[in-house]
Symmetry: C2
Subunit: 328 residues, 2 copies
């Protein structure tokens, strides 16, 4: 589909067209209220009249984990971290007796994560800091090229949601600037978001470690320090949006309580607003989880979406296909 | 000039043209090595061949104070802060006996700033924090509309450099994405950079205070806290570039030692690089200052520019006009 859509999008964008419905721009979306809400919102903000929004203000923000790609059985970035722990273990003999590393190295992920956020923090810092930004970039590129999802055997970048790819392309064809606003690491996402989503590095907002500029033998490097710089989750998302984008999105897409404040922030602006939750309802083609899941918990945000009339995408019923590889 | 150039730029951009020299794109630049260096660099990166750079990698970063607009006799943001101190004084009777406010309120700016960075920090926090982002945005918009430069009587946004406006437009017409990377406040610049430079809020990198997301009577706001979030100066500039843009610029423009690390960072990448310092050499039409100035000191960076063959713009000899209002 991406290949078929691209020339159309380019042709229509060149003509300044704001309506690509002539050839269905959302072929992986079943007819129904979610698809209809997307089309109506885009028509409203692109049509001269009371709901019209000038192009520079057409900012759309997307959560990544669980919204643009899958997040089960663990956040994919955690699989990257676990692989790095194994690769680094020979240089850290002390990890054999030190949690959470000892459990990890025995293959007991659950045991390692039983230590909660402090354990997670230790794993992230041990694997995401202590190298230059260029070195980290290369580690991510190598991993993304080869690592495979434990359930599907697919590359992680294949585990993206086809309907969301279509939605992103449709918004961009209608003058939107699309941003990722994710709790995931900003520099973990940037090496592949342009290729996979068409979202360039400068339009990725995420969590970060502190950086330090240094001259090494006269050559400048940026060192990744084992210190949290910013956590782009929950109340951090509107903060990240303001610091990075400086405008309030008119459309925001998430899937969990971690996205609630981003949706509240988008919803509170003037003019037309579009707030969307992707609800994981498909236990056969994907995973079904919401209120009691430890990953991607969707509880308060689901209540608020219902109370405020936000769009809740029902993956099982709204999506014809989940991943691009299902299409042949 | 801006008005005359804009249709040309748009027309050529639509044609995908990479050479706008047919009608001089830099009319306020005298013929000479600086102008020639600009034209040669742009020709090199846009012409298929060994120096070609794909459009997404054509990132150019500009310092603001002293590079895009003037910075004498004080950074313009400081004039904004001083006006705010006066406006807020009735609510702060204690300021009459407390430095640096007491001196400021007596009109003694020099005395107030004698307290150095801590004094400056107090002034900035008292005037840039303690309100919502929306309230601060409005304060800046109001100030920019009415405040006037003490020497020229012009609006501060008229004190921009005409040759740099042409340069920014020329780069954009050649597929560059232009960013501001300034020690100034990110949210102090954003309300006017799009109108004045054509640089949208999401392409402004600057210093910031910490923000806090809160619900006020159920309505979300972002509060500006009296706490430094990030200082986008000196070694902070490459850090700000990485955190915000995530790509290394191929062209960087500054005017002081505060820009040295940004230029070093840009220079150290692969392929063609363009590092430029604007040297304030015109005591008649503007100000002449460099190695011993307390504002915009240009000392180490000037030495490094000479050693490394970076382009040093001589304002007096390279620029036909300084500000747009000189043209009639």
């Amino acid at each position: 589909m991406k290949k078929r859509l691209a020339p159309l999008v380019i042709a229509l964008a060149a003509l300044g067209a704001t309506d690509v419905r002539a050839d269905d721009p959302l072929p992986s979306w079943n007819k129904g209220p979610s698809r209809e809400a997307i089309l109506q919102f885009v028509a409203k903000v692109t049509t001269p009249g009371p709901g019209f929004v000038p192009e520079p203000e057409r900012i759309a923000t997307f959560d990544n984990d669980g919204t643009l790609w899958a997040e089960q059985p663990l956040y994919f970035q955690l699989f990257f971290a676990l692989e790095r722990v194994k690769a680094l273990a020979p240089q850290h003999p002390e990890w054999n007796d030190k949690e959470p590393f000892a459990s990890l190295l025995k293959g007991d992920v659950k045991g390692a994560l039983a230590g909660g956020e402090p354990a997670l923090g230790q794993i992230v810092m041990a694997t995401h800091a202590g190298m230059t930004t260029a070195e980290f970039d290369q580690l991510v590129r190598d991993w993304v090229k080869s690592a495979r999802h434990p359930k599907t055997g697919r590359l992680y970048t294949e585990m993206v949601y086809q309907p969301m790819l279509e939605l992103i392309a449709y918004l961009r064809a209608n003058g939107f600037k699309t941003f990722i606003v994710s709790g995931g690491g900003i520099d973990f996402m940037r090496p592949w978001t342009e290729r996979v989503y068409g979202i360039p590095p400068e339009q990725v907002v995420g969590s970060s470690v502190k950086l330090s500029f240094e001259l090494r033998d006269g050559r400048p490097v940026l060192l990744r320090l084992p210190e949290v710089g910013f956590i782009d989750d929950k109340a951090g998302k509107p903060v990240g949006i303001q610091q990075h984008i400086g405008r309030r999105p008119i459309a925001a897409f998430g899937n969990s309580d971690g996205d609630l404040q981003m949706l509240q922030w988008a919803a509170a602006g003037e003019g037309p607003r579009f707030c969307v939750l992707v609800h994981h309802t498909d236990s056969e083609r994907e995973w079904a989880y919401d209120r009691i899941s430890s990953i991607g918990r969707l509880d308060k945000a689901l209540d608020e979406a219902k109370a405020k009339g936000w769009t809740v995408v029902d993956m099982k019923n709204d999506w014809k296909v989940i991943h691009p590889f299902e299409k042949r």
